[in-house]
């Protein structure tokens, strides 16, 4: 399931040979350390909060990853999440629409916003960074216009109840993330669309000349991204029991941080499903450790920024030690998008 080419056997040595493996060991060491040295860490409620944070942040990070896989960016990730939340909350508070319709409309609005991003990107040929920077502003504007910057509080009781439901330390909504992980793994490993997304990101020209419908694939990736943002938004709404227009404000940086730490190549063509999950976990655990030790939350932001830099620098260094055109020494080469 990893994207880094474990070839079968999983041993401590093989773990150290892959970026994901190293990341796993770091996260594992961190968790062990925290469990041993901090009393408040291995508390059911703390684990519940941590898992919930990780589950939401993972959806957001995947929302970024699927577009980055094509070589693009989605700056409007948070704005998409917010507008879809506000849209579903509005349907509940103002129109009393049945829940299934609310969910469909909320997620559908995310898909539509993703489609707009993708369509504008392929039609204009402008980089999605600029396009989504613009649409981010537009979506946020719509959010604010609908809500007047005030949250909707009339969320259906069932939704709130589901959002708070837990089974010991396991938040029920986190199950959605588990399903998404599995579906994304299937998409990128075993389905034509996922492979084509990676092919476009790996080399757009080559993909096109080989018969990949590049534009359609890019639009699909953006739609998928919009959908993931909307799912993350809906779960957040269920958790905080409010359709807040501020949902998604703090998604962008962590989304990049997690995928970069996880080993996703920003130029496209290589994703890391497990790596991203580990990246999110690492950020979550660090944030949690600082929080239970009462560290000023602003330091968390500083740490997050530093972590991104370290991840990029280390990742680049690891890749550049490999002689490009030589034939041997394959064992150490990180795999590619889909193995």
């Amino acid at each position: 399931m990893t994207t880094h080419g474990f070839n079968g056997r999983l041993t401590p040595a093989s773990l150290l040979r892959t970026e994901t493996g190293v990341l796993f060991l770091i996260v594992f060491a961190g968790l062990t350390g925290l469990s041993v040295f901090t009393e408040q860490f291995l508390v059911t409620f703390n684990i519940y909060v941590l898992l919930y944070n990780i589950a939401l942040a993972t959806l957001v990070a995947y929302g970024q990853m699927v577009v980055v896989a094509t070589g693009g960016f989605n700056i409007s990730l948070g704005a998409t999440g917010a507008l879809s939340v506000v849209f579903s909350a509005m349907l509940m508070e103002w129109y009393d629409v049945p829940l299934p319709v609310v969910i469909a409309a909320g997620l559908g609005s995310g898909v539509v916003m993703g489609w707009i991003n993708g369509y504008l990107t392929v039609k204009t040929g402008i980089h999605s960074f600029i396009i989504t920077l613009g649409t981010a502003s537009a979506y946020t504007g719509a959010t604010m216009a609908i809500t007047n910057a005030n949250p909707f509080y009339d969320i259906y009781g069932g939704v709130i109840k589901w959002g708070q439901a837990r089974w010991g330390f396991w938040p029920w909504p986190a199950t959605v993330t588990v399903i998404v992980v599995v579906l994304l793994a299937l998409l990128f490993h075993r389905m034509v669309l996922g492979r084509q997304i990676l092919a476009v990101g790996g080399n757009e020209q080559a993909a096109q000349l080989t018969g990949v419908p590049v534009k359609r694939v890019v639009v699909w990736a953006h739609m998928l991204s919009g959908l993931l943002a909307a799912i993350a938004g809906f779960l957040t709404m269920a958790r905080v029991a409010a359709g807040a227009p501020t949902i998604g404000n703090d998604w962008l940086l962590p989304s990049f941080a997690a995928i970069i730490i996880g080993g996703v190549v920003l130029e496209g063509g290589r994703i890391a499903i497990l790596g991203t999950l580990l990246g999110v976990t690492l950020l979550g655990v660090i944030g949690n450790a600082l929080a239970i030790n009462h560290v000023n939350p602003f330091w968390v932001t500083l740490l997050q920024g530093s972590l991104i830099l370290v991840a990029v620098i280390v990742g680049t260094a690891v890749r550049s030690t490999k002689p490009a055109p030589l034939f041997r020494s394959q064992a150490a080469t990180p795999g590619e998008g889909i193995e």
């Binding site: 990676l198 080989t210 030589l326």
Partner: protein
């Protein structure tokens, strides 16, 4: 970096050059000597105890197959890499180049194989980049830049305006700008890494003439080429590398012939040059072009391609061949005319349609940029054309079936890769080329357009690829071979269409007699009247 910008550039070597003569006295230390050079990369000994000597006024050919270590030697000489062991001497003095800048300062000018120009800058700015002349106020003196750059370009007889942005130049003209830049540095050593790969024969002649003049003034030249004809035409001395070692002592060109050279390069006697006669005669027509014109410049192109036939498209770079190929597979539009596949009019709007509906594939001349996904595996680079076919009813690709489908093609084409999951980037150029062919074979194409299949590929692999193409047509594939490598096209093609300025100038029924065919091809390519001047060439690259 001070240079006198008032004098027009001349092929004068600024310092210490022996006046008008070549130093032949073996007692004087050679211009350049590399001794015991070793260099390892993780897992690979790229060079092991390599020696090289270059004297003043000498043209030294540095030869070897891809991966033999030529590029590494050059990168060490030009300061891009540092040797693990070994010494470099310039006129007997030990030097160390920690970075390219110090090599340049020591008078080593380099025309790299990979183009190294700033696309948005003008040709002139690129040529003068290292030492832009300035006005008294400290601003760049663009008059002087373009005046001097233009003189270097004129010297190369390059029909390029110094003000033209490099991005608007054709590949061949970019190469000329690169050469002009190296010559303008007026170094004592000039290193050229496959400088002629994209040049026309005429441009090559002009280049060689200039190189000979530089040689006569005492410049030492290191020349890397895969074209043995050029080596014998230009070079005085030959140094062959094989697997990171000197394949033998550096030798004078008189003591060499091409068989000996190939033996040295590949470590065994050369492969037989003749291809077997094909058993089958060409069959029925598969692809027909009727008066096809494209906005990109192809005009009124008509020809028919039959099953089991190789039609060669010969022409200079910019003659419109690749543009025509791209129009056939639907990347570029067609302005007028018709394409018929199996006798029926086909409107091909995208490569996807070309593949799915008409079974036409295109092997690009640009393996890196357009051909393969370098970071992805051999497996997915081959199976990309058949993913849709490999999925079952629920939309999933069966990984086992995928491997089982790809493996035979990888074996049949003899792709040398440790495993199917090896990234393309770590394969040699020849093996990459085989993968680009394999993906189309896996897709079951009936027509394959092969664009410059052996550019930058060494002698042995070239022969392999030729045999491969030959096998494919024997099995009934129809191939359009685009090539500016004349021996290649004469060797392989059944018919040769000569293109110039987007038009077909003539058709030659090829009987594989090189002397006869090449003469006719050149006559058509240059135009029957014009001697020596290549026709108007599309300025714009692809």
């Amino acid at each position: 970096m001070d240079r006198d910008h008032i004098n027009p550039p001349q092929l004068d070597v600024p310092e210490q050059a022996p006046a008008g003569g070549v130093a032949t006295d073996p007692a004087t230390p050679p211009l350049l000597e590399m001794r015991g050079i070793s260099k390892a990369f993780p897992g690979v000994q790229a060079l092991d105890d390599v020696a090289l000597t270059l004297r003043e006024g000498q043209v030294l050919a540095l030869l070897g197959e891809n991966g033999a270590g030529k590029s590494t030697v050059i990168k060490i000489l030009t300061g891009l890499y540092q040797a693990d062991q070994g010494e470099i001497y310039l006129r007997g003095e030990r030097v160390e180049f920690a970075e390219p800048h110090s090599a340049i300062a020591a008078g080593i000018a380099h025309v790299p194989q990979e183009r190294n120009l700033v696309p948005d800058f003008s040709a002139g700015e690129n040529i003068m980049f290292e030492s832009l002349p300035t006005t008294r106020r400290g601003l760049v003196d663009y008059h002087a830049v373009h005046r001097e750059a233009q003189q270097w370009l004129d010297l190369l007889k390059a029909p390029i305006d110094s003000h033209t942005p490099v991005s608007d130049l054709s590949v061949a003209h970019m190469q000329l700008v690169e050469i002009a830049r190296a010559i303008s540095r007026q170094g004592r050593i000039l290193v050229l890494d496959e400088p002629t790969a994209s040049l026309t024969p005429h441009e090559t002649d002009v280049l060689f003439e200039i190189l000979r003049r530089l040689r006569d003034q005492g410049v030492g030249i290191i020349f890397v080429s895969h074209k043995l004809e050029e080596v014998f035409e230009l070079c005085d001395s030959i140094n062959v590398l094989r697997d990171g070692l000197n394949a033998g002592p550096q030798a004078s060109v008189e003591d060499m012939d091409s068989d000996k050279l190939i033996t040295l390069m590949v470590g065994r006697a050369p492969v037989k040059q003749e291809l077997p006669r094909r058993a089958t005669e060409p069959g029925g027509p598969v692809l027909e072009l009727r008066n096809v014109s494209t906005p990109a410049g192809a005009a009124d192109i008509s020809f028919t391609l039959h099953r089991g036939e190789i039609v060669g498209l010969y022409g200079l770079v910019g003659a419109g061949r690749s543009e025509l190929a791209r129009a056939i597979i639907g990347v570029e539009p067609i302005a007028a005319g018709q394409i018929l596949v199996d006798g029926e009019v086909a409107r091909i709007k995208s490569p996807k349609e070309a593949l799915d509906r008409y079974r036409i594939g295109y092997v690009s001349e640009n393996r890196k940029e357009e051909g393969l996904i370098q970071m992805h595996s051999v497996l997915s680079n081959v199976s990309i054309t058949i993913w849709r076919k490999l999925q079952n009813v629920s939309g999933f690709i069966n990984g086992r079936k995928e491997r089982a489908t790809v493996q035979p093609f990888v074996e049949k084409l003899d792709v040398k890769a440790p495993s199917l999951t090896t990234p393309i980037a770590s394969l040699s150029g020849g093996n990459q080329q085989k993968v680009s062919v394999a993906k189309w074979l896996a897709a079951g194409v009936e027509v394959l357009i092969v664009d410059e299949p052996t550019v930058g590929i060494d002698v042995r692999t070239k022969a392999n690829i030729h045999e491969l193409i030959w096998d494919l047509v024997s099995q009934g594939l129809a191939i359009i071979l685009i090539s500016s490598d004349m021996p290649e096209i004469v060797r392989l093609a059944d018919r040769i269409l000569v293109m110039r300025s987007g038009r077909i100038m003539g058709e030659i029924d090829n009987d594989h007699d090189y002397a006869k065919a090449s003469e006719r091809i050149l006559a058509e390519a240059w135009g029957a009247r014009g001697a020596g001047t290549p026709g108007p060439v599309n300025e714009k690259g692809k």
